[in-house]
Symmetry: C2
Subunit: 329 residues, 2 copies
Amino acid sequence: MTTIKDIAELAGVSRTTVSRVLNRSGYVSETAEARVMEVIEETGYIPSEQAKAMRTKQTKVIGVVLPKISTETVSRTVDGIDTKLSEHGYHLLLANTNLDPAKEIEHLKLLQSRRVDGIIIVATNINDQLLKMIERIKEPVVAVGQDIPGIPCVLYNDYEASRDVTDHLLQKGHRHIGFIGVSEQDRAVGHERLRAFRDTMASWGCPVEENWVQQGVFDIESGYEAMKQIIETSKVRPTAVFAVTDRLAIGAMEYVRSLGWKIPEDISFIGIGSSDLSRYSSPKLSTVDYYNEQAGMKTAELLLDYLRGDKKTPEKFIMNYGLIERNSL
Amino acid sequence: MTTIKDIAELAGVSRTTVSRVLNRSGYVSETAEARVMEVIEETGYIPSEQAKAMRTKQTKVIGVVLPKISTETVSRTVDGIDTKLSEHGYHLLLANTNLDPAKEIEHLKLLQSRRVDGIIIVATNINDQLLKMIERIKEPVVAVGQDIPGIPCVLYNDYEASRDVTDHLLQKGHRHIGFIGVSEQDRAVGHERLRAFRDTMASWGCPVEENWVQQGVFDIESGYEAMKQIIETSKVRPTAVFAVTDRLAIGAMEYVRSLGWKIPEDISFIGIGSSDLSRYSSPKLSTVDYYNEQAGMKTAELLLDYLRGDKKTPEKFIMNYGLIERNSL
DNA sequence: TTAGGGTGTGGTATCGATTCCATACAGTCG
DNA sequence: CGACTGTATGGAATCGATACCACACCCTAA
């Protein structure tokens, strides 16, 4: 591998001069610059960011901690993050946790050992140990999709979105509404959305039968199973079902269709996520668009502000959302 | 930031000894090791992979060049790649090109400047300039989803898959078959799949009306438009349509549904990709599963072999595929 | 007694860049 | 004419780790 030293020798100048040409800093004569550029061209020399980072203490790499890249929400968010950060010369280093708490901590350490300039945490569950770990990190850390105390976050308005969805169903005349959620360990998706559902139902004076509320695990199959539970165990069957993710809703629709029911005549559905799936399911699923890509971009901006030292106080940015009504209700 | 020097001073030993403790290399007395470990624990010292890489010439980072992360095919592939590589202590550095040829070259340079240990190219279009660039790269380069001469590749069997799909439609009795493709610049998806389609039609003695063959650009909308073209311009309307991606097929189905046609009674559809969409569209779309995640893992393995120096000759690995018949035909 | 091998430790060069400091020359101003 | 400023260049320290080499010690076998 050719180094700056080789270039210097071939061009008959010192390493310092080559460095100056590379960084357009200080004084360099035109002849010297021309010679250096020529040699660089000939040799195909590419300076080592590594060695550069060593001195400048800037790697221009941002670590991204995420549960799984191959989900729409996450990959869209990462797309937004990358769009914004690459504009500023940053690269993304992936840290896939598969939602394993031990791996999350390990990955945070690994990112630090690589001296990333900053870390973005995407929709990862938090626990006390993780929180302590994050506090000790010197580099800027920002999060998207989950509220982490003490650090800047881009948050989805889970409570209000869920309230609006429930409200919408109630306004449409539904009084018996099923709910397919996920583990309440997941604060945003599991806890907040359920809380808003219960609150809104209560504020309309609508009791919620316990069997109407079921839990799945983020995939289509578990939506199917949860719906089966609702239908088979409920005393009064719901006329509408609110699932906290599109996949769960799609699974739920699958089940009632297997019973030969008509959607939305016999039962209505709504999800959250505005996935591609929701646009082309049958019938088209009503949902809530969380604008993940924009959220990713906003998160990147928050991090960039942080890196520039503009803001020191943790800022919570609440994203907008859009209710999309389609044929499923 | 604490360094190995600080640890050495605090523990009352030399940097060398600390290094030996860190790497379990050479001889270290138990007392020395204990003291060093203690200090490391207290200070929360995390060694710099940066500096380490500087000496060892190994960054343990693999660059991944891809067109866009938020597509099912790509994100699944990356998932597979990461699963395998993280097992061996490698991290992934993302390089998003948005299919911009200039960016591809730039990204390859940037990855080299970061001294990645290897590069994986995911489903990116190739052109002469890119090819020359790749040839000059000293680090191992492998590709998945596109045949790049001279380097190990994991390839999808586009020709055979497309032939099987066409064959299947023909065997079902269809003789007028529409085809929605993409730019032939894209060798795998655009060129090969179309070639197999034409060959197979020809081998059955079925002429193909030129208006049956339309082009889209990878999204649902363009599938819709392409289908519109087919319907509006064909002299004889096809009874089946083969779209080279699920999205195009979904868009195409959308259009005929907007005409009030029934699928598969009035017209049949099949796509490629086994996307989530295909499983939950209406009707469920027949498709071909390319096993992207496995392909990603296989690609990672190829790269690992390469890194170990096991193989020097470029190896082409052809992936299997599975035809999935659903209600759309 | 001495040569040789196993242990344990530290000094120092090195990786490839940046950056501070020193030096040198030319031109300008008071 | 001396002081100063602007231009151009190179030497050497530095970033944080690894790794080679040298040295010191203790033990054992010839």
